[in-house]
Symmetry: C2
Subunit: 157 residues, 2 copies
């Protein structure tokens, strides 16, 4: 199949496909009489595989490295295994981090909802960097009524 079809079927743009080939992410396909790339079904499978690696957040450098290893055949399986293990570790760590982030976001959302509901006063919330001047309330002589006594219950997203 030619590059247009292949692009449609993989969802990768024509430019991206040529780019991937240039940087060694995709084995160069055969050419037909007119010089056009002829992609095979194996290339489709390869593209799926790239998609998986990419979706894991692996950068193109590592992906190219992996591709080169794979081209070396079974001899490189040990090293590929190591790469995948390392990458799995990173993915796991990232997922744990996101779990924490989720918790934090949820808490902030709860707090904000309380403000919207009226059960929490906004001035107990923000960290009071005044917008216009960029000066902080740090050394303002606060003119208004509300004393700043018990603020900073929340770090104030």
């Amino acid at each position: 199949m030619r590059i247009g079809d292949f692009s449609t079927r993989t969802g990768l743009s024509i430019d991206t496909l040529r780019y991937y080939e240039r940087i060694g992410l995709m084995p160069p396909p055969a050419r037909d009489g007119g010089g056009s790339r002829q992609y095979s079904d194996d290339h489709l499978r390869w593209a799926e595989f790239l998609d998986v690696l990419k979706s894991t957040g692996m950068g193109v450098r590592d992906m190219a490295r992996y591709c080169a290893l794979r081209a070396d055949g079974a001899a490189s399986i040990g090293e590929r295994l190591a790469m995948l293990r390392g990458h799995l570790d990173r993915v796991r760590a990232e997922r744990r981090r996101l779990a924490q982030v989720e918790t934090l976001l949820s808490e902030k959302i709860t707090t904000f909802q309380a403000v919207v509901d009226g059960s929490l006063d906004p001035s107990d919330l923000t960290c009071q960097i005044s917008p216009a001047t960029g000066a902080t309330t740090h050394d303002d002589q606060r003119i208004g009524a509300r004393p700043r006594a018990h603020r900073r219950a929340e770090p104030g997203l």
Copy 2:
């Protein structure tokens, strides 16, 4: 505190701090007599907060938007709430995706380990794009002994 200290305490480089200020991610600090930026403790809290947003994968555009809203004060809490909710959804989705990726990587690792252990033959594994020519085995007349009968049990990372 001046920019050098602030940089040390936040872990953000001096250049990054000025960059953040330029693009509206950080409220412009007051200046001392000599024109140097004077960061306050509130800026420290702000930096922490930016760090959280950034760690969630929010891009600088959205972060700047959020900062602008926050500078508007309590009136913008509704919109900030909406942003956080939307972002939380994205973080959740991303975490689910990573969970799938983890599964897939684990499977591949298991398979490769089986090859390394000798309990699985490598030729049952790869999708056989030959490295040198870029031609595929698709229409090779395979000379070697091993018939390709039952290959492709695995999509062959």
